[in-house]
């Protein structure tokens, strides 16, 4: 049983609920548990590539570390520079910091970020865009017009990426220096993509796509008992953690 088969609409609802619940609590252990289980699921019950997990995780870890340090030194109340502690001048600064209540605050902040990151990656790397949109159409009544429009735009991305490279080369050859984040090549590409989107829309219409009309579906994503079970396990687990965990 893979996470990929979890109905995306139920999955996104469950994960949103989990994120809201997590934001209402301050338990380091629960945060770590959520983060750990997200990683476990990713590595053992999904087809996500460890490489892509790492690609998102590393920035998240850096951000978490940054938040940890910030929390440690600059939290309100019981700051390191508190008179009481700073009077014990023989104790090194780092130890003093660790002694303060801030360590716990810092851990709370950092692990919460990790928990969010874990849930986010879990969703992002185990959800096929098309399956998600199909599920949104059938479970959440998203109009097909939006769903297929989004898909078309999404599939235009490789063309846009290729075009962007050409535009940058063209600019360089004309002697225009454009930094990696320069707006001009972006503008040129966007002008083109407006025209492209018109072409794609006409092609879709020419293939009989009609916003209001009835259509059939090759496969209709359904919600099974195990979709609800998964959602229940995630949300229920967090609720239980909130009730019974202490730190």
């Amino acid at each position: 049983m893979k996470i990929e088969r979890w109905n995306p609409s139920v999955k996104v609802a469950a994960i949103l609920a989990a994120v809201i619940l997590l934001s209402l609590q301050y338990l380091v252990s629960l945060n770590l548990l959520v983060f750990g289980s997200a990683l476990l699921l990713l590595f053992f019950f999904s087809d996500a590539k460890p490489k892509s997990v790492a690609a998102i995780l590393i920035p998240a870890l850096i951000a978490a570390f940054g938040l940890f340090v910030t929390g440690l030194y600059y939290a309100r109340g019981g700051s390191v520079t508190d008179a009481k502690l700073s009077s014990v001048s023989s104790v090194p600064y780092a130890v003093r910091a660790a002694m303060s209540r801030n360590l716990y605050t810092a851990a709370q902040l950092a692990t919460r970020l990790l928990a969010y990151a874990g849930l986010g990656i879990l969703f992002a790397l185990t959800t096929d865009g098309e399956f998600f949109l199909q599920s949104l159409m059938h479970q959440c009544r998203l109009p097909p017009k939006f769903a297929y429009g989004l898909l078309a735009a999404f599939h235009l991305m490789p063309v846009m990426a290729r075009e962007y490279r050409v535009v940058r080369t063209a600019f360089a050859v004309r002697g225009v220096r454009a930094g990696p984040l320069a707006l001009k090549p972006m503008f040129t590409m966007l002008v083109n993509s407006v025209r492209w989107s018109e072409c794609v829309a006409m092609a879709m219409e020419s293939k009989g796509f009609c916003a209001g009309a009835k259509r059939t579906y090759y496969s209709v994503p359904r919600v099974h008992w195990y979709d609800w079970a998964g959602a229940g396990a995630l949300v229920g687990g967090i609720l239980l953690g909130m009730l019974f965990l202490r730190y």
Binding site: Y148, A203, G208
Partner: protein
């Protein structure tokens, strides 16, 4: 087969893009296309033939423009009574740009999307999909990502979509314009198969030679998409020769040499033992995955100074990539020399001062939003010391010289394809570049405006000693203009004589 049935009937249709505009794009068009035939609509660039297709399919005026009068009937039923879904079962259009025809990522999913649109019951889809892929020879394309396909393969995929839709009439809007002749030859049998099944095929094109064997009728269109002549076939073709000329169309088989060959100077651009691999330049450093395939393997070529040289070859054979390598923008091994100096020893800025390139889509290289500003900016980049008055004067002279004086205040994006390309050429040559690389000068335009550009470049070549290297699929064009021809085949440049190129 009911041959007498009329597939598409247009009666006194008037269409324009702007309601208050002066020009009717379709000017009182009256046209019948018989069911079950293969009909070719031919006309020069800007005669309204593509608009005609979009109007016939009901894509216009729904997506822009306004229909001032006239009636359109598909198989006897007024277009207005049908919704988009029903229209698709009567008539659907395949467009020129193969990249912009799909909404899904693989052909299998795209075909399902098509069938879903027409409310095909899901359990019949697999069978219908299999049959369509088999008939159209597209089985091996089904699960490949569409953006990785070559131009010809994309058009084959698009044609398979039209087949699976089961439209009784298919309109091909210049969809063979940008693919190489071999790919075209593999697409024609697909159209024949469609016709055998009783479908009506309407091909819009500005070339006749491809269609002579298959067309039941060629209709020549003049400006405003009005019929100039119909019932043209291979048998009575000679009597329309003069009309082809008047309409700016190439008469099949004729290949007037456009310019006297120039003496070949020494080499301006030399490839010696050059190997190039496919793949985006940025990705090359990566270790994972197999090495991308070789596009050039120990290739040698010399592009003489003060001449025009054409590079022919199938799409995807690496012509554009070879250009990029010559600009130092794609990794290569071997030696590339520009005016006798090794490319590796030339600094980038100095290189750009010697070599200019105009890409397939000139819209990609505009750096400003105004035609005058475009040239002025370019002049400023390359000629540091000019003051405003001098800049203005030189800009004006350049624009007038390329017949762009009339559109000085427009945005470059508002110009026609031909004008855009002229502007791109002009702006690229502002720094006094002596070597111009031109990627597909015929892309998105007809013979006449491509000719106009080549004629102007020819003048520059003859008067100023410019060196032009251009990529094209159009062998007749290459034979007519180039002083030297290369065919990129089997990863090498092979030199051709103009006669060889035409056979």
């Amino acid at each position: 087969m009911a041959r007498e049935e009329i597939a598409l009937r247009m009666e006194d249709v008037v269409f324009r893009y702007q309601e208050n505009g002066k020009r009717n794009i379709l000017d009182h068009v009256t046209l019948d296309v018989m069911a079950g035939t293969l009909t070719v609509l031919m006309g020069g660039s800007g005669c309204g033939k593509s608009t005609l297709a979009a109007v016939a399919a009901g894509l216009y005026p729904e997506n822009g423009g306004c229909l001032l009068s006239g009636e359109i009937r598909l198989f006897g039923r007024p277009l207005g009574e049908l919704d988009q879904q029903q229209r698709a079962s009567y008539l659907s259009v395949m467009f020129q740009n193969a990249d912009l025809q799909f909404c899904m990522d693989t052909l299998r999913r795209e075909l399902r999307f098509c069938m879903e649109n027409l409310c095909v019951p899901p359990r019949e889809m697999d069978e219908r999909l299999r049959r369509a892929a088999e008939t159209m020879g597209a089985a091996e394309l089904l699960d490949r990502k569409l953006y990785t396909l070559s131009g010809g393969e994309k058009q084959r995929a698009a044609l398979t979509c039209l087949y699976v839709l089961g439209s009784r009439c298919v309109v091909l809007d210049e969809c063979f314009a940008n693919i190489d002749p071999d790919a075209v030859r593999s697409l024609l049998p697909m159209l024949r198969a469609m016709k055998r099944e009783g479908r009506t095929v309407v091909a819009i094109d500005h070339r006749a030679d491809l269609w002579l064997d298959d067309a039941d009728e060629i209709i020549l269109l003049k400006s405003g998409a009005q019929t100039a002549a119909r019932g043209v076939t291979r048998a009575n073709l000679p009597q329309y020769r003069a009309m082809f000329g008047e309409l700016g169309l190439v008469y099949p088989g004729s290949c007037p040499r456009e310019a006297a060959p120039l003496p070949r100077g020494e080499s301006a651009l030399t490839f010696r033992g050059v190997c190039i691999r496919a793949g985006a330049a940025q990705r090359r450093g990566r270790r994972d995955g197999p090495e991308p395939p070789l596009l050039l393997e120990h290739a040698d070529a010399e592009f003489p100074r003060g001449c025009m040289t054409a590079v022919l070859g199938a799409s995807g054979s690496g012509k554009t990539t070879a250009f990029l390598a010559a600009l130092g923008r794609h990794p290569y091994t071997g030696t590339i020399e520009i005016n006798g100096a090794d490319l590796r020893t030339i600094r980038r800025k100095a290189l750009c001062r010697q070599v200019g390139i105009v890409f397939q889509n000139p819209g990609n290289q505009f750096i400003t939003q105004n035609v005058t500003e475009e040239i002025r900016a370019s002049l400023r980049i390359w000629n540091g010391g000019l003051d405003d008055a001098q800049l203005a004067q030189r800009t004006q002279a350049l624009l007038d010289g390329f017949q762009l004086g009339g559109c000085r205040r427009y945005s470059p994006y508002m110009l026609s394809q031909g004008q855009q390309r002229r502007l791109a050429v002009l702006s690229v040559l502002c720094g006094g570049q002596k070597l111009l690389l031109l990627d597909e000068p015929t892309y998105g335009q007809d013979e006449r405006s491509a000719m106009a550009i080549l004629r102007q470049l020819r003048q520059k070549v003859e008067r100023e000693g410019l060196t032009v290297v251009f990529i094209t699929h159009d062998r007749a064009l290459a034979a007519a203009w180039a002083d030297k021809l290369y065919l990129l085949r089997d990863r090498r440049f092979a030199e051709l004589s103009p006669e060889e190129a035409l056979t």
